[in-house]
Amino acid sequence: MSLALLFVQILNGLQLGVLLFLIAAGLTLVFGVMDFINLAHGVQYMLGAYLAVAFYTLAGNFFFALVLALATTLAFGLALEFLVFRRLYGRDHLDHVMATFGIILFLNHGVKLAWGAAPLSLPIPDLLSGSVVLMDGLLYPVWRLVIIGSGLAVAAGLYGLVNYTRIGMLVRAGATNAPLVSALGVDIRRLFMIVFGFGAMLAGFAGIMIAPILSVEPGMGDTILILAFVVIVIGGIGSIRGAFLAALIIGLVDTLGRSFAVDILRLFMGPSPARTVGPALASMLIYVLMAIVLYWRPAGLFPVKGR
């Protein structure tokens, strides 16, 4: 367990963390403001990745594809809200689960129908490919640094947007008490629609950014969705700050756990059982963490007041 390896894994953990934040931010707002469980948030991430690949093959330029894919995911999110979700606000959570589960099925198999079941890939833009030397004996891919940087930039932008603008104020107020905001004369439906479209676009952005280093395939949104739910539950539903911290914690714990679980377990047991138990324990680690957090703080680390 060299220092360089530890450093690389911390960076990888950060990269997973900001990716999770991009997805969890939209999820926690939709959840917090509209009290809506959107299981279909993960497929929007998948859709972002697929659209990036599709537009890249059309245009041959990553940045062009990025802009087009972002616009399309935004439009798609708004369309979903308009066609389906706005009919379900105020309904039972179970109705949300069933409807969005249906959308997951549709989109997971829809992309298979449109692009085939085989995984696709997207090349890293030439400008940002290759690696940089961060310290002695430590090469790190530029693209991963770009993901970390853009994720942090989005986080900072969101922080400003939520805390220092009028729309951000309304979103915060909506997360605390939506009926009251509506009673004060704010068009809450329009606010919902904006939040929803924006959340969908952020998830799409995460999908676009990860497409060059991950294979783009049907169902890629399902695993990340569950992780994003773990993040928003640990962070406290409706809290952007909680989502950010929880995303980084989950990203680091998951990545470091997977890298070092076997090594750490070998201090206590033989190499053979360590190799069996290690990976399972590593996969489980974040769920254990979530159970512990919820045991001590049943409403997450940063509960939004008034819920």
Partner: protein
């Protein structure tokens, strides 16, 4: 005046409320299940006429998942405890059979109690923690425990790990190879389903069930009345988990195979969909929902490889337009016919 009365009419016909659906469901609560069980009991006779195996296997599968769905409805429909990890209990029951079989133990009198004990113990331990949380947090923490069980099963390298475990011989009862015969397995599953249904019905109707339903409507008031709501919910959760363990025991015997996929969160989601599709909080709605779900799956998947592209929007339409699932739809049609 006449036009005024005419324009008033629509408001004189209030939308069918949840309470009315429930009342209608209670009335048909013995007729419909009787009908379902009657059809199921007669099916193997009819199955003699069609090519061996297929129809009977499908019906057996429907009944096994119905047991799990009824058990889930007990906690979701009557306790408002939306568990997103119920597939784990099925998987635990199935793995109890699989692991014993891998060591050459195939006696039902050993494997069934073990399947029940393991799933109930898991329900007890996870329920202790989960039931401290409410609403969405409960959904997510049950999901977390389900995922833990899933990853544990995936890591069981001696028992197949990710790939699962093939069961060489089905369980025997006192040395007699009962489950080897598809019709015997079918009737055992039917008996288990009937038993599960009436057990849950009795629970729901008992004082215990009334406390559970009271806590669904207003936990604070039930606590004020002097009931320790937590303990009632925990007991219901353990019973539900045990019944899912029973379903897992049957599933392992029907499929000759266990795999971590039994415990995946998608399976838990499907179970919830089955209950919702039929109609939540009616018990027999869970059976109707399971049958519809699996039959639609069977039908559409024969039609096209991409059947879920059709099935997904169907689910959305059912949610948007058909409140209360299929049972609710039925109750609404009947109510409309009676009241013009």
């Amino acid at each position: 005046m006449a036009t005024g009365a005419g324009s008033l009419r629509p408001s004189a016909k209030p939308a069918v409320s949840a309470a009315r659906i429930r009342a209608a469901a209670d009335k048909s609560g013995i007729v419909v299940p009787g009908l379902i069980f009657g059809v199921l009991a007669g099916l193997p006779v009819a199955a003699l006429l069609v090519p061996e195996g297929y129809l009977l296997d499908l019906a057996t599968r429907i009944m096994i998942f119905s047991i799990a769905a009824v058990a889930l409805d007990l906690v979701v429909g009557y306790g408002a405890l939306v568990s997103f990890g119920h597939a784990a209990f099925i998987g635990l029951g199935a793995y109890a059979v699989g692991i014993l079989a891998a060591h050459g133990i195939g006696e039902t009198l050993v494997s069934l109690p073990l399947a029940l004990a393991v799933s109930m113990l898991f329900a007890y331990l996870t329920g202790l923690v989960s039931l401290r949380t409410r609403g969405v947090y409960f959904i997510m923490i049950t999901l977390a425990f389900g995922q833990m069980a899933f990853f544990t099963a995936s890591s069981l390298a001696p028992y197949g790990g990710d790939d699962g475990l093939t069961i060489a011989a089905r369980n025997t009862l006192l040395g007699f190879a009962l489950f080897k015969y598809p019709r015997a397995l079918y009737y055992v599953a039917l008996a288990c389903l009937i038993g599960t249904f009436f057990l849950c019905r009795a629970i729901v109707g008992s004082r215990f069930g009334r406390v559970l339903r009271g806590a669904r409507e207003n936990p604070t008031r039930m606590a004020t009345l002097g009931f320790e709501v937590y303990r009632f919910q925990l007991a219901a959760y353990v019973i539900s988990g045990g019944l899912c363990g029973l379903a897992g025991f049957l599933l392992a015997n029907a499929a000759d195979f266990v795999s971590p996929a039994y415990m995946s969160w998608q399976r838990s989601g499907e179970l919830i969909i089955m209950v919702l599709l039929g109609g939540i909080g009616t018990l027999y709605g869970a059976i109707i929902g399971t049958a519809s779900y699996l039959l639609i799956e069977e039908l559409l998947s024969g039609l096209t490889e991409y059947w879920k592209v059709i099935f997904g929007p169907m689910l959305v339409l059912v949610v948007v337009f058909g409140r209360g699932g299929l049972v609710g739809l039925l109750a609404r049609v009947r109510w409309r016919r009676r009241h013009g």
